[in-house]
């Protein structure tokens, strides 16, 4: 089955939060009773993703050199082709799933929080129930796996009134995004418009059409799997396992050799 992707056209998004609420409705997530948000001087709320908020809109006021812009970014799991979270998850709760979705099985999560510390986009958020015991759970966008594996679009895509969200085969979404970037650059006066997510991290499942450079939206310009997670997965784990194995085997062998030698010496 072809890898699917979500194209988010930030130039069309008007931050109506329809997607934020549709996601909660479809996935039975809690709102204010859970997060108890307050207004801290912005329309942006909640102020971060959480196990009860899998997508949200960031509001950024950007005084550009040519014009003032109020940038809106729909934040959520990027469904990386090469996902750091999958690599560091000790339980397998995070896995590469069908259609290119990075799936998450909440029952398996043990709250260790590695995903939240290794994701280059800081997407999975842990909600710690007890700081002392470490009781916690993580959660994130699943690209509405129950819908998308049944030929439907994610709930957010379905609800968007601005026609800013698209769901389809990844190569088609890339083509659509590139087309849109060209229109923005040539006809709408956005020379810095760009498509984000085409090749980064094994290609992202969430593609953005942006009117300004990614840094202005709070996105890393060159996202990469953290060096340390590569180190951990590719070097340290194998090293550890090898060294323990060797150690135990050598010990066993040495036991028999040493015992033999000692007995022989005693005989002597």
């Amino acid at each position: 089955m072809a890898r699917m992707a979500m194209l988010i056209d930030a130039s069309r998004c008007m931050a109506c939060r329809g997607c934020q609420v549709a996601c909660k409705q479809w996935n039975d997530l809690a709102g204010w009773s859970y997060s108890k948000t307050t207004n801290r001087g912005s329309y942006e709320n909640p102020r971060r993703l959480s196990p009860q908020t899998w997508t949200r809109i960031k509001f950024i006021e950007y005084e550009g050199p040519e014009r003032f812009q109020w940038l809106f970014l729909k934040e959520g799991c990027m469904h990386c082709g090469q996902a750091a979270c999958v690599e560091v998850c000790p339980t397998g709760a995070l896995k590469y799933g069908p259609l290119g979705i990075v799936t998450f099985q909440q029952e398996l999560c043990n709250g260790c929080g590695y995903c939240s510390q290794f994701c280059p986009f800081h997407i999975p958020q842990l909600d710690v129930a007890n700081k002392l015991t470490g009781q916690a759970k993580s959660s994130k966008c699943t690209f509405c796996q129950d819908r998308t594996t049944n030929e439907l679009t994610p709930a957010c895509v379905k609800t968007c009134p601005a026609a800013a969200l698209f769901w389809g085969e990844r190569h088609e979404m890339i083509a659509k995004g590139q087309e849109r970037v060209a229109v923005l650059q040539t006809k709408r006066g956005f020379p810095n418009a760009n498509l984000y997510g085409e090749t980064e991290l094994g290609g992202l499942g969430r593609l953005y059409v942006l009117t300004e450079r990614p840094a202005h939206y709070g996105l890393p310009e060159h996202p990469a799997s953290p060096v340390l997670s590569r180190l951990w997965q590719d070097l340290i784990q194998p090293l550890a396992e090898a060294s323990f194995g060797v150690g135990v085997l050598v010990s066993i062998a040495a036991f028999f050799i040493a015992r033999r030698n000692i007995r022989m010496e005693q005989v002597e």
Partner: protein, 243 residues
């Protein structure tokens, strides 16, 4: 094993020399018995093979055990230090390394691993291996405590790069200490020659012959031990010449 379980049999005349105080033994066993659950629970989080055990409620419980054990793991040495500060300082002073230690390492392969009775340089209260063990374990404990505390309490307060670095250091420390533990366990418990070390940690005593052989500098004093070693080496060399 008999001795370990039942102590010295009546009638056998062995002169026992005190080696470890009861608090030192408390420190050792306390540390060992918290290190084990820490290793096992930590392994569940570390090895992908054990992932099924790390899941869900069971996984949360395993993390809880890791944290509870960690608290004790750090508490035990601190309690020891508070209760027996002078002996601790003495022990730390004993952790000097010199040429004899290098020779010991060279001799360790045939002597300990293969069980051949070669001449080993005289050792003080702690032989080279034991000194290395202490150094690695003390350093390890400190590194575990710091990185562990950062990972436990620092999430959200520290940059993610720092958290990631702590995970790596925690891992590397674990590799070093677990390997050290494998060696320690082998030499202290399994090795056919070294059964007295186990008794010493349970009862606090070693036999005179053991002390003389393995910790000559401690038993005889440094000067005398060096003389005896030189004589022994000379005798061995002559023996080899004759053969």
């Amino acid at each position: 094993m008999n001795f370990f379980l039942n102590g010295p049999e009546a009638g056998i005349q062995i002169r026992w020399i005190p080696r470890y105080s009861s608090l030192e033994r408390f420190l050792h066993w306390g540390h060992a018995f918290t290190f084990l659950p820490l290793t096992l629970t930590g392994m569940v989080l570390f090895m992908p093979l054990l992932a099924p055990l790390a899941r869900g409620e069971a996984g949360q419980f395993i993390r809880l055990i890791h944290r509870a054990s960690a608290v004790l793991f750090v508490a035990v040495p601190i309690i020891y230090a508070l209760l027996e500060p002078r002996r601790l300082l003495q022990t730390l002073r004993d952790l000097k390394f010199g040429k004899d230690d290098l020779d010991w390492v060279k001799g360790a392969f045939p002597y300990y691993l293969l069980g051949r009775h070669v001449a080993m340089p005289p050792q003080s209260r702690f032989n080279t291996g034991e000194k290395l063990n202490v150094v690695i374990l003390v350093t390890g404990t400190v590194l575990f405590a710091i990185t562990g505390a950062v990972m436990w309490f620092g999430r959200g307060l520290i940059p993610v790069e720092l958290f990631q670095a702590c995970v790596i250091i925690h891992d590397l420390t674990m590799i070093a200490t677990v390997n050290m533990f494998i060696i320690h366990f082998y030499l202290a418990v399994v090795h056919p020659m070294m059964w007295q070390s186990l008794i010493s940690m349970r009862y606090g005593y070693v036999s005179e012959s053991y002390a003389r052989e393995h910790h000559a500098k401690w038993f005889y004093g440094e000067e005398r031990a060096k003389e005896m070693y030189a004589a022994e080496k000379a005798a061995q060399a002559k023996k080899e010449e004759m053969v």
